[in-house]
């Protein structure tokens, strides 16, 4: 018995159409044509994902994961891209393996996490999922791309939570990594340490609290050591990761331009193709990471509400599919995909409106990019698959 989730299909299609319009307005005919070529490919992929037996996907999880990781390593060794190694050029196509990695990692995580009924804070439950998520996250991190690397953390956290892991345990699981990142500066590490101490003392007793604090102290101490071993330019790069408001190249300038562009859209927007900021060329990468600024300028607040509404609707249907399926693997797929798309949408828009530091995260469906569109379509197709066959 198949029931197609029409709401989800419509939401995804509307987002894709909005994406095409935005790319045309921001990037011009060249990018429009390319995106229009990708669209049917992505749609075909979505249909295939919808029709595919989930058992096959379950069986293919490991090979998929392995192939994608190899591509990621290949990119590190031979990739090209402006400033950093993110792209992989194969003839006329340039592929961004980190996008495909998101998909493959969620699939294999779904497989291994759904093996257990409930996940506790034990090595037996956690070693496999943490390793499976950490490997691609670290590979992406050295690309270097911190924000994409955090996508995997978001997916892992959401999926573990869905499998019954307590939020406190989830926090403890991530403390070493948080402590390491916070440890680059005492100003971030001390508040983190105090919060952790209070929280664990209140919620889990003295012994566990001391253990958690000891572990996070070790990782916190490790980061200055690592930092001191790095060369000057590497340290600058890390500093830009951890403190992007440290602004030697005027990234803040881009953020300001973006906020002015968005704000100048006011309630109703300047109208399609009537944005001025992007026409004057103040916005960098305006058809990719900055696509939302361009859209918000032309569509205004009302248009933004519609756009955000479509995202909420899409993600809600993802969660709903997880809620109603009886297949643990399928449910985990939906949760993982929701986490990834939700993280990207929130981080991208958040940075453009000045809530978060500027990083290189695309907005699903709106940012130009074939790999991204293909992966997003596959995610939608797989969620439709789960929603249609809940057993």
């Amino acid at each position: 018995m198949r029931r197609l989730d029409v709401t989800l299909v419509v939401a995804a299609l509307l987002l894709a159409v909005l994406g095409v319009l935005t790319i045309y307005s921001a990037g011009g005919t060249y990018y429009l044509v390319r995106q229009l070529v990708f669209l049917p490919v992505a749609a075909g992929a979505a249909v295939a994902a919808y029709l595919m037996p989930r058992r096959l996907l379950h069986a293919l999880a490991e090979p998929l994961y392995a192939v994608v990781l190899l591509a990621l390593v290949a990119v590190l060794l031979a990739g090209t891209g402006p400033g950093s190694k993110r792209w992989f050029v194969l003839g006329p196509l340039s592929i961004q393996p980190s996008e495909l990695t998101k998909l493959a990692t969620v699939i294999i995580l779904a497989k291994y996490i759904s093996l257990r009924r409930v996940i506790g804070l034990t090595p037996r439950d956690l070693v496999a999922p943490v390793l499976l998520a950490a490997i691609p996250a670290l590979l992406v991190l050295v690309e270097p791309d911190l924000s994409t690397s955090l996508t995997f953390a978001a997916a892992l956290a959401a999926m573990l939570y869905w499998q019954g892991m307590r939020p406190l345990h989830l926090l403890l699981l991530f403390t070493p990594a948080i402590s390491f990142a916070a440890g680059f500066s005492l100003y971030t590490w001390i508040p983190f340490f105090i919060c952790l101490a209070v929280l664990t003392l209140v919620r889990s007793g003295l012994t566990k609290s001391l253990a958690a604090l000891a572990v996070s102290s070790i990782f916190g101490l490790l980061s200055p050591v690592v930092l001191s071993m790095l060369k000057g330019y590497q340290r600058d790069r890390i500093r830009a990761f951890v403190a992007p408001w440290f602004d030697p190249h005027g990234v803040g300038w881009n953020a300001i331009q973006s906020q002015i562009a968005i704000g100048s859209g006011r309630l109703l927007g300047k109208g399609f193709l009537h944005g001025t900021q992007k026409r004057l060329g103040f916005l960098p990468n305006r058809h990719t990471d900055f696509a939302f600024s361009s859209a918000a300028e032309e569509l205004g607040f009302i248009g933004c509400l519609v756009l955000l509404g479509l995202f909420i609707l899409l993600l809600y249907r993802f969660l709903r599919a997880a809620r109603y399926t009886r297949d643990g693997f399928g449910a985990q797929l939906c949760i993982g995909f929701a986490a990834i798309l939700g993280y990207q949408a929130f981080v991208n828009i958040g940075m453009l409106i000045g809530l978060l530091p500027i990083t290189g995260i695309p907005l699903p469906f709106l940012s130009y990019g074939g790999s991204s569109l293909l992966v997003n379509a596959l995610m939608v197709g797989l969620v439709l698959n789960v929603a249609a066959r809940p057993e």
Binding site: A158, Y161, G265, R266, T276, F282, F301, L308, I312
Partner: protein
């Protein structure tokens, strides 16, 4: 399941609600203002240049400072083609060069520097034509200046405009920035430079600033640190003046107890201020084409045969390895020494001498025989251990290790085994293939004076930040293989050199000086004159190495220079004696703007 579904849905709502609230703030609450700002791009990112740290001598006299100047900046998105050609004409600049400056950043609306250090005429021209030059502005832009003058050129160094390489290597640099290229300016570039800040300002339709943008806090510039050097400005000036009669010379003075550089001079020099002006001026061309290479720091990058100043090193090697005692005598000197079928000369006839006496009269025959007894491998190994053939580690870039002719080196130079004992004999009297810089010789004699403890030479004394002392350079020492009894014998010899030997020209009535003269053969051109000496001989404080190229005997030319520097060090209240040649010195006293810092005790 239900609960977790609800929780995740709530998280979704909360995150998106935050986005909607912020969007509302930007588009509704601040919508009118953002719309106004976007209407005609009305904000500018202005660079606030970090003032470069000053460089002071040990007394606080300013050696390098910054003076204000005007730079012309352009907002590339606003400058039209006609305005561009007008601007190029006003600035006496080829249009292609202007376009080249703007091109890499053409898509941005932040100002780029197109010309720095404008003349008063250029400033006036731009101001007059302001209304025809949209996007063109004048900014205050500090420029380096060197009030103390030419004697510091090699020590403090100079700055020059960044090149493509620098821009690639260091992303915080921008075009038309200046960075340290030599000397202290290059060595401590990071400390001196500080970090530029910036602010965002709102501008009117003519591109003139109205006020700071309230939405974005300015990021203030972090000023560079002030550097205080160990150098004594008086000695530096005196060393410069005392070598005025010679085309090429170098002087190094060190505090033997700390390694602090008291003076470091190389002739000929250049005016570091010329790098601030346009390259290609007549002065510039004459400097570049000067065969004496004024940019070359002879004190640390030029190796000379040490001549007889090498003999104390050979003596110490012999004593250290037990080849001789201070009382050892060899075949008497009859004016020459026959080895194989070659004759090696001495400069006089000295008869039979012991070691101190051989040093005092600088007897070559004694040292030929000593060298043979020690052997090449032992001698080169000892010379290397006490610092020859190695950089001293001074904090000025470009120091050269220079050469000790080891067996391997001779093999590679002449072919395996195709060299004879002549190399060893020449080495033993400091001629031929052995080379040392004046700094190395000063450092080695400093270690002898300091009873075998070598202090690594350094020119930085302390770092000041906003008038407060933040860092003091520690003294770094190494123990050399020289024992007390051996040193006493060598020091006795060095005392006698000045008392009645080859270096009597250095003698002072008030202070006992010990040292060694040297005459480095430089065929076919005239010899180089060396003197290296320390004082007071009983409890040494300072060491000076003086080298004058092609000036003949060290005893007559270099020894008096060292002696005058030592006198000036110990009697600072006396007027420094710039020899009989007072004309040059009077014209080069410090300018009036020279002043000490805040006058606090340090």
């Amino acid at each position: 399941m239900e609960r977790r579904f609800n929780r995740l849905t709530q998280v979704l709502w909360i995150l998106f609600a935050a986005l909607v609230l912020r969007l509302g703030q930007l588009q509704i609450v601040q919508g009118a203002r953002n719309s106004y700002l976007s209407d005609r791009n009305r904000i500018r990112r202005i660079v606030l240049p970090a003032p470069r740290g000053r460089i002071l001598d040990r007394g606080g006299t300013i050696i390098a400072d910054s003076r204000p100047s005007f730079a012309c900046t352009v907002v590339p998105t606003e400058l039209g083609d006609s305005a561009a050609s007008l601007l190029a004409r006003l600035l006496d600049m080829p249009e292609a060069e202007l376009a080249q400056r703007i091109k890499p950043v053409a898509m941005y609306a932040s100002p780029v520097k197109v010309k720095r250090d404008l003349s008063a005429v250029e400033v006036a021209r731009i101001e007059e034509s302001n209304f025809r030059l949209p996007g063109v502005q004048l900014h205050i832009d500090p420029v380096r200046s060197y009030p103390a003058g030419v004697e510091y050129c090699h020590l403090v160094g100079h700055m020059a405009e960044v090149g493509d390489e620098d821009l690639k290597r260091d992303s915080s640099l921008r075009r038309l920035d200046f960075i340290g290229r030599s000397g202290v300016e290059a060595q401590y570039e990071r400390l001196l430079r500080g970090r530029d800040g910036f602010e965002y300002v709102e501008v009117d339709a003519r591109g003139q600033g109205i006020r700071a943008l309230p939405e974005k806090r300015p990021d203030p510039a972090v000023p560079g640190k002030d550097l205080r050097l160990t150098v004594d400005g008086r000695l530096q000036r005196l060393a410069w003046d005392l070598t005025a009669d010679y085309e090429r010379a170098a002087v190094v003075g060190l505090d033997v107890r700390t390694g602090a550089v008291l003076c470091l001079v190389s002739r000929p020099g250049y005016d570091p201020n010329i790098f601030m002006g346009p390259i290609g001026s007549p002065t510039w061309d004459s400097l570049v084409s000067n065969p004496s290479k004024p940019f070359f720091n002879r004190a640390i990058t030029s190796g000379y045969p040490p001549g007889s100043t090498m003999k104390p090193v050979v003596a110490l090697a012999g004593l250290h390895q037990g080849a001789i005692t201070p009382e050892s005598r060899f075949q008497p000197c009859a004016g020459s020494f026959r080895y194989g079928n070659r004759t090696f000369k001495c400069w006089s006839t000295h008869g039979s001498t012991d070691l101190p006496e051989a040093l005092a009269v600088s007897c070559n025959v004694y040292f030929y025989q000593l060298g043979l007894r020690i052997g090449l491998d032992s001698l080169t190994s000892y010379a290397r251990q006490i610092g020859m053939g190695k950089t001293t580690g001074i904090d000025i870039p470009g120091e050269r290790p220079d050469n000790v002719p080891t067996r391997d080196w001779l093999d590679s130079r002449y072919g395996k085994g195709r060299w004879g004992a002549g190399s060893l004999l020449n080495f033993a009297i400091g001629q031929g293939e052995v080379l040392a810089t004046p700094l190395q010789m000063a450092s080695i004699y400093g270690a002898i004076a300091n009873d075998g403890v070598a202090c690594i030479p350094h020119v930085l004394s302390s770092v000041d930040s906003a008038g407060r002392l933040t860092y003091t350079v520690p003294v770094r020492t190494t123990r050399l293989p020289m024992n007390r009894a051996d040193l006493d014998a060598v020091k006795t010899g060095l005392n006698r050199v000045v008392a009645y030997g080859t270096g009597t020209a250095a003698r002072l009535s008030e202070i006992t000086i010990a040292g060694k003269t040297g005459t480095a053969q430089n065929p076919p051109r005239p010899d180089h004159a060396w003197f290296v000496g320390y004082a007071p001989a009983e409890a040494p404080e300072v060491v000076f190495a003086v080298l004058v190229e092609n000036a003949g005997h060290g005893g007559s030319v270099s020894a008096p220079i060292a002696s005058k520097l030592i006198r000036a060090y110990f009697f600072p209240e006396e007027p420094a004696e710039p020899d009989t040649d007072t004309t040059g010195a009077a014209a080069t006293t410090f300018p009036a703007e020279t002043s000490t810092t805040d006058g606090q005790p340090r």
